[in-house]
């Protein structure tokens, strides 16, 4: 059964790209004792290794620890915080949201002009993030400078909750769900070398994965993601991408990679044999760590399997536990078959 407590802890932890420390600590304590060793590299990738002396082909399980967020860029003269976006965030999800800033979790909100005072044309457009500010309740620039630093991360202030026994909401399911999956799967017993790459800075250009497979380079790598599920109104039929409840999502191609044909066929055969529901990602967009791992040294065969998640890259996302469970099951069975 899925470790809901782990998913909750990972989702609630802060890990804006470049500041993955909290997530690293949770993962380290989770997998300690189940892996031979782990290390954190210069870019904050967490790399766990197991059975490295086995002569069999090396398998990597990869998920990224970072989430999209904001970064403190400066202050206005009256004590508000100016920021820049980290990762692909639609400006339209920001207004009126609660945030926390920096290690000390200073509370703030993204300021918004009251509707009463907006002109008719102002109601129709959302301003650019460049023009937005965060209010931390300070009275002056001097005051805010005492508690907030330039370069501090800013994360969405959202708590993990269940909506029903199969449906959960929270932030950062892209890709804390992947991190939870990797840490659960890596605890199983396998007789081949297994490398867990919990990568950093995925949301800002797949940076962690660019270097993360260099020291311990696998033969095969499976990236576990939280992927787009746009199965709701306002989206045309062939743009829905994936459907919640229809099981793990197998990527054939996205903007960054075409996954390995033979491995993918094998994965599908296992799903069919064991009657695990699965679906294909039907909008071939997005980029994943797999594309960088694939090009490490002389090359790596890669797969991408994901849990469908609604509203990724916004403060509150949504997933179904059954999809998570089926993804875990499929991957474990696939690994057993190697």
């Amino acid at each position: 059964m899925a470790n809901i407590e782990l998913i909750k802890a990972l989702s609630n932890a802060y890990g804006v790209s470049g500041f993955e420390d909290e997530v690293i600590e949770i993962l380290k304590s989770e997998i300690k004792g189940y892996v031979d060793s782990f290390e954190v590299d210069g870019l904050k990738n967490l790399i766990a290794i197991k059975n490295l002396d086995s002569p069999k082909p090396k398998v990597m399980l990869n998920a990224h620890m970072d989430e999209v967020g904001l970064l403190v860029k400066g202050f206005t003269n009256d004590g508000f915080v100016k920021f820049t976006k980290v990762g692909g965030i639609d400006d339209r999800v920001l207004l009126g949201k609660r945030v926390v800033i920096g290690k000390n979790k200073v509370k703030g909100i993204v300021a918004v002009k009251p509707i009463h005072l907006q002109e008719a044309n102002e109601r129709k457009t959302v301003e650019s993030a460049r023009d937005m500010v965060i209010d931390v309740g300070a009275k002056s620039k001097e005051e805010v400078q005492k508690i907030v630093n330039i370069g501090d991360f800013i994360g969405f202030d959202v708590s993990f909750e269940s909506l029903s026994d199969d449906t959960y909401i929270g932030k950062a399911f892209d890709d804390r769900l992947g991190c939870a999956l990797v840490s659960e799967i890596i605890k199983e017993k396998f007789n081949f070398p297994l490398i867990g790459l919990f990568s950093s800075q995925e949301e800002v250009g797949l940076r962690g994965a660019t270097v993360g497979a260099f020291k311990y380079t696998p033969d095969i790598s499976i990236t576990l993601e939280g992927t787009i599920s746009a199965d709701f109104p306002d989206v045309s039929e062939h743009e829905k991408c994936t459907t919640l409840g229809n099981g793990p999502v197998i990527t054939i191609k996205d903007n960054s990679v075409i996954t390995d044909h033979k491995l993918r066929e094998k994965l599908v055969k296992i799903a069919e044999r064991l009657k695990i529901p699965y679906q294909f990602k039907q909008v071939f967009v997005g980029g994943t760590d797999s594309s960088r791992i694939q090009l490490t040294k002389s090359g790596v065969k890669v797969l991408v399997v994901a849990v469908p998640v609604r509203y990724i890259h916004s403060p509150v996302s949504l997933f179904k536990l059954s999809d998570y469970e089926n993804t875990k099951k499929l991957i474990i069975e696939f690994l057993k078959s190697l």
């Binding site: 039929e237 062939h238 191609k253 075409i258 039907q282 909008v283 071939f284 090009l295």
Partner: protein, 330 residues
Amino acid sequence: MEDILEKLVKAFGPSSKEEKVKGVVKEELKKCDCEINEDKFGNLVVHIPHDGPKLMLASHLDSIGFIVTDIDKNGLIRFTSIGGLRATFLLGSRVLFENGIVGTVYHDDKDNPWEPKELKVEKFFIDIGAKSKKEAQALINIGTEGIFYPLYSRNGDRVISPSLDDRSGCAVLIELVKNVKKKNLKYDLYVVFTVQEEIGVKGARTSTYEITPDFGIAVDVTSALDYTDPHLNALELGKGPAIKVMDGGMITNIELRNELIEVSKKNKIPYQLEVITGGTTDAFAMQITKEGVKTAAVSIPTRYIHTQGEVVDLNDLKNAVSLIKSFIEK
């Protein structure tokens, strides 16, 4: 050369599914005195060992293509591109899928059926002649790959066909391997037929890492914009292979490039100089791998790149063979 080119162009090989094209290359080279292997990533590596620094020649096997994303309720196929498919040039094109099924491309603009407003792949579909979704699903799956139907024709020295990018380069390298005088070689020669170039010069990165050459030369196509008056760039069909100075992705190594120019002049091989601002080749990946590789590129001037009707002049291919041969031999 013409026959090899025709066979290559007619082989199915969009990025990541290059097996059939590799088959043609292997068949053509089965009598050559060389080692042929497929590396970990799927690149076809031909090694002609000899004393001297390592030189890697590269041309890519893959062509751009189509990939099925959905089958709609009418049995019409929705797709996206593999590599740089140019939406403006797809309407009315004929597509060949890996299992032999053929389709035609049209658009779904309900308001403007004869002159669609948005020329985007998301607005297009492929009709394979299926009467229903069920019938289509029996023939095509999500993820099935396709290419421009390979209509090859020749008029004197000029060839019109899809996939001249980069089957032209492959033809040049095949011809080179067949005719190289081994004992005159100045280099330990690797001729690599790379995979997945069109989606990120991927095969070139991994094969260069594996081989770690001292020098590299990519053989690919370049855009000849010589069909208007005045010409839109300085490259012309039939005026010889182009020695690349710069493209959208990189600048070639000055010393290596100048050597290629000297060799051309000395052997009276016609050549052109290539300065373009868009596109790049395997040379980009080769140059920047590990501690670096001194890299140049020899390009075949080609019209209408990435359409169903690309055009090359066979003399440019022949002269490209002569140029590289003169460069690698004493």
